[in-house]
């Protein structure tokens, strides 16, 4: 037998001493209680999960239990949990943490999450898992408490950093870990130098990353799993997106990553209803939009800022305030503006001033009154956000703003205000990530994000486990504008809203077409004109169609063979 046996004999002398002196002797009831306690604390098997028995407040879904078991038994407690949005990665992480704590393998835990989620994590761990997690407030929590939840931005700064580096962590959990894809960043370096036995990285989007990003993420978790840096990049090109093309690499990654998809969970999801609401704008609004559009043909403006023109067009579809804000900035930032440039801007500002009402806001108001329930409005622009808040207030509707830039406490406060007091939450894009709002089931997309993938994240805030009602999504589009065209393309060509992005990725990767987000970012971010955008979109949709027929062909063939 090769394992050393440690026999604790510290008690022997004490015992003998009492035998000699005839006592003092303990109480039989307590003696029996102590045995009873020990029998409860005994771990009967290496395998299996004890945690569920300890969690009366929680009924985990089968895919969550399976994930926890996999991570502990087959992945040695080092894993990337990459479920699609809304499948309960937090629950999986909590189960794993609880299991290790019960087994006495984990005591000291550091949980790094986005600032907006710190409180939520701590509450869930305390309430659902009976784990006394503390949120970081003062620097001394690190060595005083065993389970601390903090934002990475706080943790990596001194004096925290130094104290944290002195701790030996048994388990580290990092939420939204895809932010650690670049190994040159301070955050990456910080996490790499933490002392840890077990580690969980949570993310909804690792698959879309470039090979380099996958390498960095996996190397953080398990250095060497994908080889050393030089060897790895000799084999796979740095920029390559060929993760799915290379079976070997894919297999390696799958050894440290679990990704559950909605379709595989066997859970009955509530439905999504998507409604595009075309909006007729007023004459001054139309004039503003057209004035911006005609800028395109005006010589030097176009060359330097095709992007700005499209930005302005889209802002014009959101609110006059958004346009005004950008125009003002353009004027201020330009050094030595030519009189022509200034004139141009002034001309547009005149057009902005001519706009007296916001047709979309009117429509939103009408819809909110009709729905008569909680509604989330997403907009890309802060100016629009502020305007909407003012506008709704004029009509006696209470709303709260939500932005990525809010401090943690403020985010929690706003979420709570929305849940308990306000009817509407108006969020800008950065607010879309990392907040759970499943008590609400109506979303208005007031304008469209540059990266349509974000739509899925927006929807994911409410269409997740815990949502009991069907989810209603209203997409606003002003008629005959770039916005309407984009929406048509997304909606009609690839049925983006009804599908979950993962499905589309599956279809595309089958044929090595790359992933959907890359295509969409290229189409909507890089196109110089609507024409270009339309052509690229047509390409993408025919690719998807083709891939889909191939896939169906595959399954027919398979069926035929059997």
């Amino acid at each position: 037998m090769s394992v050393e046996i440690e026999f604790d004999s510290s008690w022997q002398d004490d015992f003998l001493h009492r035998i000699e002196n005839d006592g003092p002797w303990g109480n039989w009831e307590l003696f029996k209680l102590a045995i009873g306690v020990e029998k409860h604390l005994v771990i009967p098997e290496f395998e299996g999960l004890l945690a569920p028995k300890h969690l009366p407040n929680l009924t985990p879904f089968p895919h969550q239990l399976e994930t926890a078991k996999q991570v502990i038994e087959n992945m040695n407690g080092k894993a990337i949990l990459a479920d699609e949005v809304g499948l309960g990665k937090t629950i999986e992480a909590g189960l794993i943490l609880k299991e290790y704590m019960i087994r006495g393998l984990v005591k000291k835990v550091l949980i790094l999450v986005p600032a907006s989620l710190v409180t939520q994590w701590a509450i869930e761990l305390n309430n659902k898992f009976f784990i006394p997690a503390i949120t970081q407030r003062k620097s001394y929590v690190w060595d005083q408490y065993d389970v601390v939840v903090s934002s990475i931005d706080t943790a990596k700064r001194n004096p925290h950093r130094e104290i944290i580096y002195q701790q030996d962590y048994d388990l580290i959990i990092i939420d939204e870990a895809h932010k650690l894809k670049n190994n040159k960043t301070k955050n990456y370096e910080f996490v790499q130098n933490l002392k840890k036995k077990f580690c969980l990285l949570l993310t909804a989007t690792p698959i879309q990353n470039r090979v380099e990003e996958i390498f960095n993420l996996v190397s953080l978790l398990k250095p060497g799993h994908l080889g050393s840096e030089t060897v790895f990049f000799e084999k796979y090109k740095r920029d390559s997106r060929s993760l799915n093309d290379d079976e070997h690499l894919k297999e390696l990654v799958n050894k440290v990553m679990i990704r559950n998809r909605r379709a595989d969970t066997g859970i009955e999801w509530t439905k999504r209803h998507v409604e595009t609401i075309p909006i007729e704008c007023t004459a001054p609004e139309k004039e503003l939009y057209e004035a911006i559009t005609t800028l395109k043909s005006d010589g030097d403006w176009v060359q330097r800022s095709a992007f700005s023109v499209m930005t302005l067009q889209r802002e014009a579809c959101s609110s006059r305030e958004a346009v005004f804000y950008t125009l003002k900035n353009m004027l201020q930032r330009k050094e030595n503006p030519t009189p022509a440039f200034e004139e141009q801007i002034q001309f547009l500002i005149k057009k902005v001033e001519a706009v007296q009402q916001n047709s979309k806001a009117e429509k939103a108001l009408e819809l909110i009154q009709k729905v008569n329930d909680k509604v989330i409005i997403f907009t890309e622009y802060r100016a629009t956000q502020m305007y909407l808040q003012w506008f709704l207030k004029q009509h006696g509707i209470s709303s709260v703003p939500f932005r990525g830039g809010f401090k943690r406490g403020k985010k929690d406060w706003m979420r709570e205000l929305f849940q308990k007091h306000a009817q509407v939450l108006i969020a800008t894009e950065a607010g879309g990530e990392g907040i759970n709002l499943q008590f609400c089931n109506h979303i208005i997309n007031f304008d469209l994000p540059w990266n349509p993938m974000r739509l899925e994240q927006r929807i994911g805030r409410i269409h997740r486990l815990g949502q009991e009602k069907d989810v209603m999504i209203y997409n606003f589009a002003i008629k005959n504008t770039v916005e309407e065209h984009i929406l048509k393309l997304l909606y009609e060509k690839i049925e983006l809203f009804e599908r979950v992005i993962g499905d589309l990725d599956d279809i595309l990767t089958k044929l090595e077409f790359g992933n959907i987000e890359d295509h969409l970012i290229d189409i909507f971010g890089q196109s110089c004109s609507e024409g270009e955008m339309r052509i690229k979109m047509e390409n993408l949709s025919s690719m998807i169609e083709f891939a889909q027929t191939m896939k169906e062909g595959d399954s027919h063939a398979a069926a035929g063979n059997s």
Partner: protein, 263 residues
Amino acid sequence: MQQQEIHSFLTKYFQANECEIIENTDGYLTVQLTIELDKELMNRPFYWHYLEKTGGIPNPMQLTFITNKEKAPENMKGEIIHFGSPRLHQIFESAKSLASYIRLYENHRHQSSQTPLLPWLCMNVKISYQCDRKRDIFKSIGLQLINGQMVEDFHDRLLQIQLTPKIPDYSFTLSPLVRPKSGMSRIESYLKSVIEDDDHAWADDARQRWDQDLQLLNHFYEDIEEENESYETEKTALKEQYEPKINISFINGGLFYLTEKAI
């Protein structure tokens, strides 16, 4: 341990320590600590030191434990107790340390003649196999100190017997032929031989996992020439994660004087 079991454990613990139970309902438990238990649990040595110096009136604390938040009144002040809570584990430890050693006699009903009671040494231990996974084995061993008979599951057998801290009438104890100290080493070597006979594939597997990860780690850092701090950190972490260990830890034990036919 379920919340109800925790509740009943707490009740028994405080009763056994002679604390007054002030309220005991489904969702919570309020107890008046005795001076001893206040010192045991509340960790306020300065207060007690001060009190003893000044001769003030001792005022041990009252504690409320909430074992079921839903059933306890709203806004009730108290400690929420769950299986993972530090307070419960403190009380677990306390239960163990307050009754680590015990001596009891069988409360037999033989009134007619003088009954001999045989000495038994009892040791309750936990054997832990630990690597990146863990399992434990609870062992309760009894050793008769006259003829050296060794018995497993001794505690469960004791539960069937009436026991009392005072020697019953018409009884006398037999002096041990095996000294308690050598009895302890007999039990120790018995436990070790039981462990050695066990299957330890788990340890080999753990070493294999360890080795695999170590090879990967070496490979990862092979391009880097100089001493590397993160390499050392990772290496130590792997050792801590995987290295197989076996621990035998003592829970409690005692001397039991039992009639000849008891075991």
